[in-house]
Amino acid sequence: MITLVFFLLIGAALLFSLFLLARRAARAEGSAQALVEAKQALQMLQGELLPPGLVERIFARQDFEFVASSTPRQVQELFLQERKRVAVSWAQQVRAGVLRLMNFHLGQARFYAQLSLATEMKLAVNFAVLLVACRAMQFALYLGGPFAVPGMVGRTVGKAAQLCETSEKSLAFLGAPALGGLSKDTARRPAAS
């Protein structure tokens, strides 16, 4: 009887170890996916959504002045409506990118980056503040139009760019050039194949 219990215990221990191993492997795979997603979010923010030239172009006052001075009311309304749509969609995408980065840092970064508790806390607070700022900007653009809050847009973009830099440093071990090249190549594939 004692021998049976002994072997049952050994069996249970082995099963438990197998379960732990399986869980660990699954998490490693999930983490790699999370890393790639975080890197993509970072590239999207830095390369597509936050470059100063693009932001200046979307919120260009010069275009507004041209339309206001040379077109009738209905064209001006169309212009404001179109620019508002683009601006709100841009703000939404910035927020979504920041959210994806934050989720990565909250859930996965500790497994990879050697971040101190203080840095992690600071990052968490900065992310939270930025998310609130993005939402506020989105509402302001929606309610006031694309030219209502230039200062707010500038500050939010600046803050987001800063946070991306910090995030990029903590992800630097990923080998950015290799991944960047891969994503660029993938993006070109449809045109080149």
Binding site: E48, Q62, F66, P72, Q74, E82, R188, A191
Partner: protein, 161 residues
Amino acid sequence: MSFATTKRMDVQAAAQDMRRRTLAQIKRPLDRLIYLASLRDYNTGVYYHDGLASRFSEDAVCEALSDCHREVFRQLFFCSLEDLVAQLEAYADSTNAAPSDFIAAWQGLEPYRVSVPAETDSVSANFFFSNLRIALAILQNRLHARRLPRPDAWRQLSLGQ
């Protein structure tokens, strides 16, 4: 020299050739964008150019034209709305179509949607489409204003009589 380096050099040479011989002859960025988009097969996304294909590999030509396309799109993206309106008006004139037909076709069919490079991000593409919609509305309005008789025209006519 590695295969990748040789290919990159071919791509650069083909792109340079395209810029110098062909694109330099096309004055406006909007016309260049439409021309480059027309070199791309809608079904496969592959660019073709017979002249370049006789001197460079198919892959190099495709990549070179894709580079030029992105470059021209970027140039147009950063054009002011006023500039874009002027370019669109000049392009409409160059098609020899009646302005009202041109505007109606572009507003209805939105052919400019196929003119952007394949890997353009959604914000840039939407911004460009939106600017073209506004430019078309401005042109339509100008056309309408040209057709309407000036308020003083009747008075001049009656004075003449």
